[in-house]
Amino acid sequence: MIFSSITFLFFFLVITLAVYYLLPRKFKNGWLLLTSLFFYGYGEPVYILLMVFSITVNYIVGLLMAKYEKKKKLFLIIGIIINLLLLGYFKYIGFFTGIINTFFSNVAVKTVALPIGISFYTFQIMSYLIDLYRGKCTVQKNIVMFGTYVTMFPQLIAGPIVRYRDIELQLQNRKETFEMFSNGVRLFVIGLCKKVLIANNMGALFDALVAEGDASGIPGHIVAMFAFSFQIYFDFSGYSDMARGLGNMFGFSFLENFNYPYVSQSITEFWRRWHMSLSTWFKEYVYIPLGGNRKGAARQILNIMIVWALTGLWHGASWNFVLWGLYYGILLIIEKLFLKKVLERSPRFLRHIYAMVIVMLGWMLFQFTDMTELTAFFHGLFTGGFGVSNNAMYEIVTYIPLLVIAAFASLPVAKNLWVKHKDNKAMPYIETALVIFALVLCTAALVTSTYNPFLYFRF
């Protein structure tokens, strides 16, 4: 199930919230676990079994680590291997057999339907095991609570990647308040708008321009890059906002996952603002254990490249994601080595342009899993003409207002206004009106996406 659907918003959420608040405290986590498993299995019911298996195995590994203090490293390694094998099989088996197939053509390429959210919850589980090993959290002896942590539907399928230790206390003891719930509504509605009103429309613009191909000329390709950059940001950060908002509604608070990444003035800064829970995870559980920057410059460079190849691969089982990760690894190294100093002396707007050009080109590496499409796009971008076909021009012109809205929404303009005026007496009314307006628009968009006029129906 996805948040931006009628089923979720008007049925799943209504029932889940109503029962949650009617149940006494001791059943609340159990209810969340139950509804989360339902949420997870809604699209692919058989994977509930996989989820139950993951929860049980990791729960037991955690217990064993706590019980046999001397062998906890062994159990940690076993736990990590099991999690990576599951992730490897369900997400990367096609990719790996594909590689083997290129060398030994007698191996068949195997494909498995990807269990949604497996990359997210696997990383969450590993954060639990590693932190338990490091003594940064205590063992969870209640399987319901552990299961609630792993499956909790708000962050289950698209993050943020919540570390166990960050919500350990909340799982056991949290207080739901109107203030928190209202704040959750605020976040959820913002996220829903980002996804439904901006990301989906930007996606339509991107697809239309790519379909025009070379006819859209260099300007068309540039607008397409803007469209995709907006699409992915509003899609992903919108999902994170909705996740945090839903978390609030159930009394949880998750850490922020995006902090206006498109205001960045360097790539280093971009990755401190984009998908923060993932960068933190890799830093804490891969980069630092590898030695980080403590073992000399050569080793640091190697560590950075390893982390970024893995970050790339985490995003998808395909070579372009590895390429995309390495692209950022190299750029981050260049910035560390000397570019940072050059940038510091450059004017602000130049730094911003530099960062955004890198990011936008990067998104194209990210978007095109097919290398022929990727090269075709870059061919059009760099060697195309300046003329734009009428059809591409139509797409660009009609989307200009939305592009402008998207640009403003990706900057902290509205947030600054909010901070400045939130204590104003009229603010609650304005805000309420805006929330209702936004809910109406998003519902209208969701309903319209299912409106499907069919011209010739008789036969």
Partner: protein, 369 residues
């Protein structure tokens, strides 16, 4: 009310109200605007739940029956228009209330292959074949379009017509339509079809080519409140409806119209005037095979029209000049056209299509079946 409670209450009421209304409000069986049957509640069995088809069925069900569904569609359609997305639904909101279909995706090779199949048919059968193509509304009524719009490909398509064949003639309607577009309303504003005035131009052009004496047609009655397909697609519910003007000959003949096993005594299906798709007043809408027999005119002339729905209004006029007209819709007709020609001893064939269908149809393969 305490300040921090407002949003909680607003949000919860919003989702609760519409979920309850969706469950309680009476369900419609079909959607007039979408011209389709709406989803029924999925059957819950062990199999449908484990393979997920129950869930996808439920998604479709609640989407199809969501409370005030079409009002939501209208709201979003106007919102899109307000931010400049004119045409996102595939329909441009044009000047003077015109709702004009945007040009469909156009594949050159496919369109040319379609024309070639028609040519091939004429060569294979030796029948006297004529092709008439109704230009797209947006191509002719270009001054009604919004300033930025996609290119219409009528010129590309119609400039490619084969010439120099004895038994294949293409009647180019572009100039006639352009010359008359400001004198009369040739296209409906809310529908993709041509009006009776537009059909009359087709009739005159075809009579001219065949050397027939055109009869005089005048408006006999009108049907108000016609909302067509462009309206349904656009979601712009505040647009004004069209009026269907029915043209009839001064002294009309008597007809029998055969559709499937049913025989009717008129070219016009008056009961359709009350239905959702009022354009079906002409020949009762789309059918695989429709036979019009003129009981008054015994001139022995027969014609096969291979067509889409653009022909329906036109055929009610041409019926005056032929003893028998057979209309075949390749989208639905699955028997051999060549057999049909032989069995009925027909030597004249008219292909009549809207430009978009001619370019994009995937049914011309059935011609040579």
């Amino acid at each position: 009310m305490k300040k921090e409670r407002i949003l909680t209450i607003v949000f919860c009421s919003f989702i609760l109200i519409f979920s309850v209304l969706t469950l309680l409000l009476p369900k419609k069986a079909s959607s007039a605007n979408e011209k389709r049957v709406l989803a029924t509640f999925p059957e819950a069995t062990f199999k449908t739940i484990t393979d997920g088809s129950f869930m996808s069925g439920f998604d479709t069900y609640v989407a199809d029956h969501f409370a005030f569904r079409e009002k939501w569609v209208g709201a979003y359609s106007y919102a899109r228009l307000a931010v400049g997305l004119n045409g996102a639904s595939g329909i441009y909101s044009g000047k003077d209330g015109y709702l004009i279909a945007a040009p469909a995706d156009f594949d050159e090779a496919h369109a040319l292959a379609n024309i070639n199949r028609i040519l091939q048919f004429s060569q294979d059968t030796g029948a006297d074949c004529t092709l008439m193509v109704v230009p797209q509304t947006g191509y002719i009524m270009s001054d009604k379009l919004p300033k930025v719009h996609k290119d219409y490909y009528d010129d590309f398509l119609l400039d490619k017509m084969p010439t120099g064949y004895d038994n294949f003639t293409f009647i180019d309607l572009r100039e006639t339509f352009k010359a008359n577009k400001d004198k009369e309303q040739l296209y409906y504003k809310t529908d993709h079809h041509i009006t009776s005035a537009g059909a009359l131009l087709l009739y005159q052009a075809f009579c001219d080519k065949e050397g027939l004496t055109p009869e005089t047609f005048t408006s006999s009655r009108t049907i108000d409140g016609f909302y067509g397909t462009s309206y349904a697609k656009s979601g712009l519910w505040l647009k004004k409806p069209d009026t269907i003007d029915i043209y009839e000959c001064q002294k009309p003949s008597k007809y029998s119209v055969t559709i499937g096993d049913e025989e009717y005594g008129s070219l016009f299906f008056e009961d359709k005037a009350q239905s959702d798709d009022k354009y079906e007043v002409f020949l009762n809408g789309n059918h695989p095979l429709t036979v019009i027999h003129n009981d008054t005119n015994e001139n022995g002339k027969k014609l096969l029209i291979i067509k889409d729905s653009y022909s329906h209004c036109f055929a009610t006029m041409l019926a005056e000049n032929y003893e028998e007209i057979i209309l075949v819709d390749l989208r639905y007709y699955r028997d051999s056209i060549k057999d049909l020609l032989e069995e009925n001893e027909i030597t004249d064939v008219l292909f009549l299509y809207g430009a978009e269908n001619l370019a994009t149809s995937t049914d011309f393969g059935w011609l040579n079946y």
